[in-house]
């Protein structure tokens, strides 16, 4: 596979970089932007599209300057036709291109489930491996400022069960860059969901090529009382909570899965073996998605290690309200997470 092996290997020193705390600091958008520039320089088959990728806002800044640098044939705006454009990406990918398709909101992907679930994810299997569909679909989870029920959804839970997809939720600029490069290098349809509140972060980001492997979680904290596992913004909140709880003598393993499909269960069970307790976090509905999947796996394969009931925190089984007061009751916050951690540790 040219991209995954040959091209990247040539340029990458290692796949094992860990989010460094020193070095050049970039914003989230800059990190993604840099990944796109590197990928597009490396391979003329990579192209970027989406409503507004070449506009003055440049997709939260992630695509700023790309059209100027690579021209309108490789960086272009699209009609408002999410299902059609997703299929167009799939078709282009089947012919050897590597589209990276940007959306403002995952809510809009619901228009494209036919192409994502009935087509892009299945072509390789149905073609008996003869065709690849190396495409990346990116969307930023909305939250706050009255986004409401149709502009704030995170749909990765709905897609978790779909064979053939890969699903990525970066939480730091470092990962956003490394995972974007891995996603573009991958020969399968990869969905990347950023959280707009993660996108406010800055962190050290190495220059040049590096990849963060798909399907590998990472410890963000090490501790003994419980295992916290999750993704994206909710995990960020948990890290803050756990840092504060240090004063109460509570410590936790905190695992950022980064990729939820494939799911790094080894790292979860490794930690669970030590702690025996687990709190599962997600930035979308708790029901039927990632939280449920991890909780069930723990009950299947981690049962012997489990010393207390599994806990999960995600969104309640309610659509997102628009107003800021209702939102504040709707979304889990540091306090609620901290009290769950305290209870689990005490259990």
């Amino acid at each position: 596979m040219p991209w995954a092996q040959a091209l990247i290997a040539k340029k990458t020193d290692s796949l094992s970089h860990q989010d460094p705390n020193t070095g050049r600091v970039l914003s989230y958008a800059q990190a993604i932007n840099e990944a796109l520039v590197l990928a597009m320089e490396l391979d003329p088959k990579v192209f970027v599209l989406g409503q507004g990728v070449d506009d003055p806002k440049g997709m939260f800044g992630a695509t700023l300057g790309l059209a100027e640098k690579f021209g309108g044939e490789r960086v272009f705006d699209t009609p408002l036709s999410e299902d059609g454009m997703t299929g167009i990406c799939a078709g282009a990918a089947m012919m050897g291109l590597r589209p990276v398709y940007f959306h403002n909101r995952p809510d809009f992907l619901l228009l494209a489930f036919n192409q994502l679930v009935n087509h892009a994810s299945k072509v390789h299997f149905m073609d008996n491996g003869k065709t690849n569909v190396p495409m990346v679909v990116w969307a930023a989870i909305g939250r706050g400022w009255g986004s409401g029920a149709q502009h704030s959804q995170a749909v990765h839970g709905l897609l978790l069960g779909v064979p053939g997809l890969k699903i990525v939720l970066p939480s730091s600029p470092y990962d956003a860059k490394g995972l974007m490069l891995s996603a573009i290098a991958d020969n399968n349809p990869v969905l990347i969901f950023e959280h707009r509140w993660c996108m406010r972060r800055k962190s050290a980001v190495p220059e040049g090529f590096y990849t963060v492997p798909l399907g590998k979680g990472v410890y963000r904290r090490r501790g003994t009382d419980l295992t916290i596992v999750g993704v994206s913004h909710t995990l960020e909140l948990a890290l803050e909570a756990v840092d504060e709880l240090a004063r109460d003598g509570i410590s936790a393993d905190a695992i950022d899965l980064r990729t939820i499909k494939p799911l790094d269960e080894e790292i979860i069970f490794e930690s669970l073996k030590k702690t025996g307790k687990i709190l599962i976090l997600d930035s979308t509905w708790a029901m039927g998605g990632l939280c449920a999947e991890i909780g069930c796996r723990v009950a299947e394969k981690g049962f012997r290690d489990l010393k207390a009931p599994v806990r999960r925190i995600g969104l309640p089984d309610i659509p997102t309200p628009a107003g800021f007061t209702l939102e504040q009751y709707y979304y889990p916050d540091k306090k609620r997470i901290a009290s769950a951690i305290g209870e689990i540790a005490a259990a």
């Binding site: 003055p56 036709s81 400022w145 009255g146 628009a322 709707y330």
Partner: protein, 341 residues
């Protein structure tokens, strides 16, 4: 560079027929447009205070479409919108106070702070709802029209949407069905040539939107969206068609958005469109143009207009005060209405 120029014929064609409208009606059209404009301008001023914590999509420059279309409707008729709700809602008679409360996320907002600016509702006024998903209201409105037919009721359904909605497949599915069943529905495409910062030319080949609708079997017309009378006349005959079982109509109304896609102020300086294009369209202000037309014909004068301004200012300020002084929802409200009993 002016990419999208005004192509209408102005008010002249309507001069001969002015006698057929009564004065009160003409002034009410002017009043309605001024009211929408002034609400929007006040929203814009206050938006910078960051207390209205919801996205806003202003219709300044596009008022004539809402007003002309809704003037042809009665209360029983049902209106749906996309994200750019405000003009449609107010023109259809939606409650201003309830709208402002919604924008300020108050418990007495028209949907109790659950919808925000992209999801207004006023059932009493026949404003049936909106969707923040572009083109999402199209099939829903078509279904409402099917309901009118099946319930043997004579109300019409009207749905507003932007030019970008015509790129969504669901729009063409809706049109096909409305034409097949000859449903009493009126599709109003508010073509302002942009989708956020994307010009029409980046999204559609050079073909006329209304001609596509015609090819789907709908009666289809393009109108000058800065001319409230032209819009009204077209809408009126569309409503007649609907009521008399003659089927759906597609109206493409051309008018420019003077402000940025969302939020307050114009954003032309960011480069996606030429500020000169905005200036060009300001010459065809739907309100100024209509006022001048009416004034020249002796239907209104400067003091008359000032009185309208005063009255509206008063109403608008009261609505804002109402909203700002209203209570926010409580935690228990969150759990309501996930399911209906």
């Amino acid at each position: 560079m002016i990419r999208y120029a005004y192509s209408g014929k102005g008010f002249e064609p309507f001069e001969p027929a002015i006698g057929k409208y009564d004065r009160e009606f003409l002034v009410s059209l002017l009043w309605s447009m001024m009211r929408i404009r002034m609400v929007q301008e006040e929203m814009e001023r206050r938006y910078r205070e960051d207390e209205m914590k919801t996205p806003i999509h202003l219709v300044i420059g596009q008022e004539a479409t809402s007003v002309g279309c809704c003037a042809a409707l009665e209360r029983k008729d049902q209106v749906f919108s996309g994200h750019r709700t405000n003009g449609n809602y107010l023109a259809k008679g939606g409650d201003l106070k309830a709208m402002m409360s919604e924008l300020y996320c108050r418990a007495n907002g028209c949907v109790a702070s659950r919808g925000g600016s992209m999801h207004l509702l006023d059932k009493e006024a026949g404003y049936a709802g909106s969707s923040g998903i572009v083109a999402g209201s199209l099939p829903i409105a078509t279904g409402a029209a099917l309901a009118a037919r099946m319930l043997k009721q004579d109300w019409a359904t009207m749905v507003f949407f932007g030019d970008a909605a015509t790129e969504e497949g669901t729009l063409w599915e809706s049109l096909n069905y409305a034409a097949l069943r000859e449903l009493p529905v009126i599709y109003v495409c508010e073509n302002n040539f942009f989708s956020v910062c994307s010009p029409l030319e980046a999204r559609q080949p050079k073909v006329e939107i209304y001609e596509k609708a015609a090819s789907f079997g709908l009666h289809s017309v393009q109108v000058d969206g800065t001319n409230v009378l032209e819009v009204y006349e077209t809408a009126r005959s569309a409503v007649e068609r609907a009521r008399s079982g003659k089927g759906p109509t597609f109206i493409e109304s051309l008018a420019y958005r003077w402000r940025g896609h969302g939020g307050a102020g114009d954003d032309s300086d960011t480069g996606y469109r030429d500020p000169a294009e905005v200036e060009h369209w300001k010459q065809y202000c739907p309100i100024e143009g209509f006022y001048n037309f009416l004034a020249k014909r002796g239907q209104i004068d400067e003091p008359g207009r000032n009185a309208l301004v005063k009255q509206i200012q008063n109403e608008v300020l009261k609505a804002f005060e109402h909203a700002i002084s209203s209570p926010v929802p409580e935690e228990s409200d969150l759990f309501k209405h996930v399911y209906s009993d």
